[in-house]
């Protein structure tokens, strides 16, 4: 399968990239890993006249940890880098696990986290963990910048809030609160490779002595037009003592907050099962 023809740019600075984006807007697409872009182009779902390769720009592949601010991930950081990064594994291990699920070994070497988020697949494995970590994205264009929450960023299936001249330069995960842990549980569509049928991420801040849930965040992917937070389910647990009955109630509520389009019965069932599993695993990690 051939990639349709295009004009190619390989800028050496962010300014140059932004300048090109501003000039060509919707006629251009940014190239990071290529694992989504080229597939869509081969299938003729996307036919940009211009492709702007970001990989020639230095410094975009950094992960930085700041004691106050948290984790900042650049646009060219690959899934593989995240999976193996010591800070991610220590502080946000369930994110590393989620990224380990993405694609295949080869795809993880090539694909970037930012690229994955910009692709905005409803079933993105990285999305649910990042949602429950209250991740923010920094968007820039030639004449300005803005910061949006990940929840705002996803607008619909494969649709983001990005304007044609904008690009994502940073994924910002705030520093984790004390006595917290996260868990990512998932079911495949069929066999082991391929899209996630349901992904559930839970981020729990718990007082281990009396098991009071200070805060719980529940994220689900592949069950709605975009990855979602199950806010009603969160309200059931927030501030309460976590016990089995309450967990099951919250899991049930989470499954009712989904809007699955295909295989709806199964997806709702699995949402319930996985949210429960994720809450339990997060609890275990804290204790």
């Amino acid at each position: 399968m051939r990639i349709p023809k295009f004009e190619y740019f390989s800028p050496s600075s962010i300014e140059e990239a932004c300048s090109l984006l501003y000039k060509y807007k919707s006629e251009a697409k940014l190239l990071a890993g290529g694992t989504d872009l080229f597939v869509k182009m081969k299938k003729k779902e996307l036919l940009p006249k211009f492709v702007i390769n970001l990989k020639g720009i230095e410094g975009l592949d950094k992960i930085q940890w700041d004691e106050k601010e948290g984790l900042k991930i650049g646009p060219l950081v690959t899934h593989d880098t995240i999976v193996h990064h010591p800070v991610v594994r220590e502080k946000f291990d369930f994110l590393a696990e989620a990224c380990f699920k993405i694609g295949t070994r080869q795809v993880r070497n090539m694909g970037t986290l930012v690229g994955n988020l910009c692709n905005a697949s409803p079933s993105s494995d990285a999305a649910a963990p990042l949602l429950v970590l209250e991740t923010k994205l920094k968007l820039i264009h030639l004449y300005g910048e803005r910061t949006v929450s990940l929840q705002e960023f996803f607008v619909g299936p494969f649709q983001t809030i990005l304007e044609p001249q904008e690009m994502v330069v940073e994924v910002w995960i705030p520093k984790e609160p004390p006595q917290s842990a996260g868990s990512y549980q998932y079911i495949h569509k069929a066999s082991s490779v391929g899209e996630t049928l349901v992904g559930a991420a839970v981020f729990l801040t718990l007082d281990p002595k009396d098991k009071t849930c200070r805060e719980v965040r529940i994220g689900l992917s592949s069950v709605a037009p975009t990855p979602i937070r199950a806010k009603a389910a969160e309200r059931i647990l927030n501030g309460k003592r976590v016990e089995e009955k309450l967990i099951k109630e919250a899991a049930q509520m989470a499954s009712e907050e989904t809007q699955p389009r295909s295989r709806p019965w199964y997806r709702r069932e699995m949402s319930r099962v996985l949210v429960e599993q994720a809450i339990l695993q997060a609890m275990e990690k804290i204790q």
Binding site: R2, I3, F6, K42, N53, G103, V107, M110
Partner: protein, 156 residues
Amino acid sequence: MKKQLIELKVNGESHELAVEPQRTLLEVLREDLGLTGAKEACGTGECGACTVLINGKPILSCLTLAIEAQGKEITTIEGLAKGAELHPLQKAFIRYGAIQCGYCTSGMILNAKSILDENPKPSREEILKGLEGNLCRCTGYNKILEAIMAVSIGEE
């Protein structure tokens, strides 16, 4: 679209080529350099048959532009053997019956090599997870695993 002059380093040899920007590394290897070991079985990133090593890491050459591969060390299956001396993985694949139709073999061996280069003594689960992106319809993967385990314990 105008062709660009690029230099690719493949299996230790440099090649100067004029290619259009949309041409993938897979196409250029197969059609311009005659290295047909890397194959296309899907073209969209699921099958792994186009796997080559770039700076030692397994990547999908069907989703990599040839122009992007400049300045890197590209290893294809043709570059694995040293003259007539096969790489241990190649020997093991033959010995353990890990090859049937052979179409997935190039990508499978290269990816396996990268797994062993990273971790010379991987567990069965680590090998199978590492190979999840290389589809094989003939062997069921059983003898492929056997061959790789044999190399990892130093049998070849």
